[in-house]
């Protein structure tokens, strides 16, 4: 997803000062260089906080004492977005946020909250076009199986100081159990191996399995009722003989079930006696009938709405240009000015008067509308995610149609019953009761007769389950994941020889189960922590992160933001110089020649990142926060110096602290 950092902004508590703005270049390798304790390492926490992090990791004291709001301006395909969040004071974080969007936004000098972090996170999920279907297709209820969120994607864009050369942890925030588990679950989705469609099918499969269990249980219960019913019917047959409702031509013991049933049905169907229908019994039937008709009409209206919605969604799916794994829809313009200008020529479309009276006014109106339309052109396309809605509406349609059919069945039965009230006449109370009961029993039998229908339904569900299991085979997901990982590993393999690494030609393996890197040697795979040296760890981190982004960039609809922020990549090379500084208590002069091996190794890191940025043709941005000065990276193509914080110059201006 095209999502790059344009600016970071700090609003001071002291209103006499203007906000501090740090501008970054899009599609470039941006460097903030400077000494220790100048605020470089606060940049990642500031961006993370403004993108909705749970806690505020911006260092306390100096920075948080001086600033009231932190902000970040994001460049997206849908224009610029300023996301600002209030300094949390004594709390771990605050939900108060300010959002401003526009083609070119004007940074306000003061800020007042206009939204909250929850809403910002929802908007970011939507912007990234993340599917809203969760991974919990088995309905386990685990929080780690929730829908992928924008927050999960930060694992791919931040490499702070404690991660960049960490042999144990590869991804940002993957050192906590919750983040690790969630990241592992969403990884196949981010790699495009699990698509929203697969997720939807998985959910459908769970629903179908539930449905199958229900129908099978129904079938089971009908079979047992059937046996009970036969014995009851035998008793009723004898009673009917006793009452004289079955004449002598009927055998005392019926030869089989069908003969017995036909005999009993003939009693129910033939009018036996005069009717005794009370006003109340008719009224009850009429009331019930009216109620059923009302329900039927309500469901029918809902069904019409759902069908329309489903058709619209299907149409959107069909028309949307489908990239690898999600939809892109061309944004639609209203063009009100075009509507107005195409209205009746002789009448004003607005006031309805003759145009001769108001032609000038209409022209004014049209030109002002065209101006607005020109100014407000915002974006090329949107990434709609309505996978969950699509499945929900489909399921609602199915279940509502079933209810509708049920209602119709009940209504028809009731109508029949009402008719029968009118037609049939019972004189003898016992006969009346008997026939009433018999009628019920016959009805039950008739519902038993539908078991073939039920068997049919069970078969249909079984077929669908079988066909779904072929489409969503776990093996298929695994093979797709492994294909994507192979690609990433290949990309990393091409980057590694350009970095300072001991085994540049040994294949690298990204293992999702452990969220870790392994390096292959003859017969074994070595985890990063089994390989020594900070320089190796750093190189593998750099290579894999760049390879991941290269992979993400190849898919136009990948949700991962297209930037990478790295803090202190040179840390593994410069402890020597840092020690000199602490001994002499003076700044290390990084501008002095660094022609030793360490300097060369650091230059390689910058060059590898620059190569990835440059080959993306503006679609990828890197931001590096480092001690290393211009003499290390200055000559590298595509590098942009954001700012140099030395000799008293810092993230937070000194005067803010006075």
């Amino acid at each position: 997803m095209f999502f790059q950092i344009k600016e970071i902004i700090l609003w001071p508590r002291n209103k006499n000062f203007q906000p501090k703005r740090i501008s970054f270049k899009l599609g470039a390798i941006n460097i903030v260089t400077g000494s220790s304790r100048t605020g470089k390492s606060a940049i990642i926490p500031i961006v993370d906080y403004c993108l909705g992090s749970e806690h505020c990791a911006i260092p306390v004291k100096t920075i948080r004492d001086a600033c009231e709001w932190f902000g970040v301006v994001i460049q997206t395909q849908n224009g610029e977005k300023l996301l600002a969040r209030k300094e949390p004071g004594d709390f771990q974080s605050t939900g108060e946020m300010f959002v401003l969007e526009g083609k070119n936004i004007q940074i306000p000098s003061t800020i007042k909250a206009n939204t909250n972090v929850t809403d910002v996170k929802i908007q970011l999920d939507h912007l990234a076009g993340l599917t809203n279907i969760d991974f919990d297709s088995q309905e386990i209820g685990s929080g780690f199986l929730g829908r992928p969120s924008f927050r999960d994607l930060n694992a791919f864009v931040f490499q702070p100081q404690n991660i960049i050369a960490n042999p144990d942890v590869l991804f940002y925030k993957a050192d906590t159990h919750a983040h690790r588990e969630k990241l592992k679950n969403i990884f196949p989705y981010v790699l495009g191996a699990v698509t929203p469609e697969t997720l939807a099918l998985m959910h459908e499969m769970t629903q179908l399995k539930k449905e199958l269990r229900k129908k099978q249980a129904e079938l089971q219960s009908i079979s047992s009722i059937s046996e009970r019913w036969v014995s009851e019917m035998k008793a009723k047959y004898s009673e009917a003989k006793e009452l004289g409702l079955l004449d002598i031509t009927f055998p005392q013991e019926p030869s089989d079930k069908d003969v017995m049933l036909n005999a009993l049905k003939s009693i129910v169907e033939v009018p036996q006696a005069s009717i005794k229908v009370t006003q109340d019994s008719i009224q009850d039937s009429v009331d019930e009938l009216a109620k059923l008709q009302q329900e039927e009409s309500a469901i029918s209206t809902t069904l019409i709405g759902l069908r329309r919605r489903f058709a619209e969604m299907s149409e959107l799916r069909k028309n949307a240009s489908s990239y690898k794994d999600s939809l892109k829809v061309q944004s639609q313009r209203l063009k009100v000015s075009a509507w107005l200008s195409e209205s009746e020529k002789e009448k004003c479309p607005i006031c309805g008067n003759d145009l001769s009276d108001s032609l000038e006014e209409l022209n004014d109106l049209l030109s002002s509308l065209s101006r607005v339309e020109k100014e407000e052109k915002a974006f090329e396309n949107i990434s709609p995610s309505f996978d969950r809605e699509y499945e929900k509406v489909r399921e609602d349609l199915r279940s509502l149609t079933e209810s509708f059919n049920g209602l119709q069945f009940r209504r028809v039965a009731l109508e029949k019953k009402s008719d029968k009230y009118k037609d049939r006449q019972y004189e003898i109370a016992r006969v009346e009761r008997f026939i009433g009961n018999l009628e019920k029993s016959v009805e039950i039998y008739e519902s038993l007769g539908t078991d073939s229908e039920l068997i049919n339904e069970v078969e249909i569900i079984k077929d669908r389950i079988e066909s779904l299991s072929k489409t969503i085979s776990e093996r298929d997901v695994k093979s797709k994941t492994s294909n994507s990982l192979n690609k990433i590993q290949q990309y990393a393999g091409r980057i590694l020889p350009n970095l300072d690494v001991e085994r540049p030609n040994d294949p690298v393996v990204l293992k999702i189960e452990d969220l870790a890197i392994q390096v292959q040697s003859n017969n074994r795979l070595d985890y990063l922590w089994e390989i020594g040296s900070g320089s190796n760890w750093l190189s593998y981190h750099i290579a894999v992160m760049l390879a991941l982004h290269q992979f993400f960039l190849e898919s136009k609809s990948n949700p991962v933001p297209s930037f990478l922020m790295i803090d202190q990549p040179s840390q593994v090379y410069f402890p020597k110089k840092l020690t000199e500084r602490s001994k002499s208590n003076q700044e290390v002069d990084y501008s002095k020649k660094f022609d030793d091996e360490d300097a060369l190794a650091v230059r390689k890191v910058f060059a590898a990142i620059a190569e990835a940025v440059n080959s993306s043709k503006g679609n990828f941005q890197a931001i590096i926060l480092d001690h290393a000065a211009e003499n290390i990276w200055g000559a590298i193509n595509g590098v942009y110096l954001v700012d140099e914080w030395r000799n008293g110059k810092k993230l937070v201006p000194e005067e803010w602290l006075l």
Partner: protein, 166 residues
């Protein structure tokens, strides 16, 4: 005339429409006394006359704002993410009613147009009594609320939220 036809005629009539637009402009003007961009009026009926959107809008506090309201569509509970995507099509479907209602509102001086700026103003001298029919009253309140929410954002931001361009 069947009940459904009668309901259709009652709802889709320009007289009611003109009052709905008046209420929208009233809500819009509540913030900094701004004129309502004409373009926005075309969004009013497609939003208010969509059952699920309207019932959610009626339940959303006036202080929440359009962002919060649109975010509600995306929640699992409501699952209405697709609804905004059909708005452009619905705007076209409601175009006739919008224009007839606007014409009536201008003829009856409920709204005053400033052609140079492409905006309309609600005429404060015209007072609309609360509707005696509860459903209509809710519709008018909803329109006013929607107008107020729109005034808090730029057209760019509204377009971004609704996934369309003006």
């Amino acid at each position: 005339m069947s009940g459904l036809q009668r309901e259709y005629k009652n709802l889709y009539n320009p007289a009611l429409g003109s009052v709905i637009l008046y209420k929208f402009a009233e809500g819009y003007g509540q913030i900094e006394n701004k004129g309502t961009p004409l373009t926005l009026l075309y969004m009013v009926f497609p939003i208010l006359f969509q059952e699920q959107i309207f019932s959610l809008l009626a339940k959303t506090q006036s202080s929440s704002g359009l962002r919060k309201f649109i975010n509600k569509l995306y929640t699992k509970e409501n699952s209405l993410s697709d609804i905004t995507l059909s708005l452009p099509k619905r705007t076209e479907e409601f175009r006739n009613l919008t224009e007839r209602s606007l014409r009536m509102a201008l003829m009856t001086n409920l709204l005053v147009i400033s052609a140079k700026d492409g905006v309309v103003f609600q005429n404060p001298k015209k007072k609309i009594k609360p509707a005696s029919v509860k459903d209509v009253d809710e519709l008018l309140k909803g329109s006013r609320k929607l107008g107020k929410w729109c005034a808090q954002l730029t057209l760019f931001e509204i377009g971004n939220l609704l996934g369309l361009e003006f």
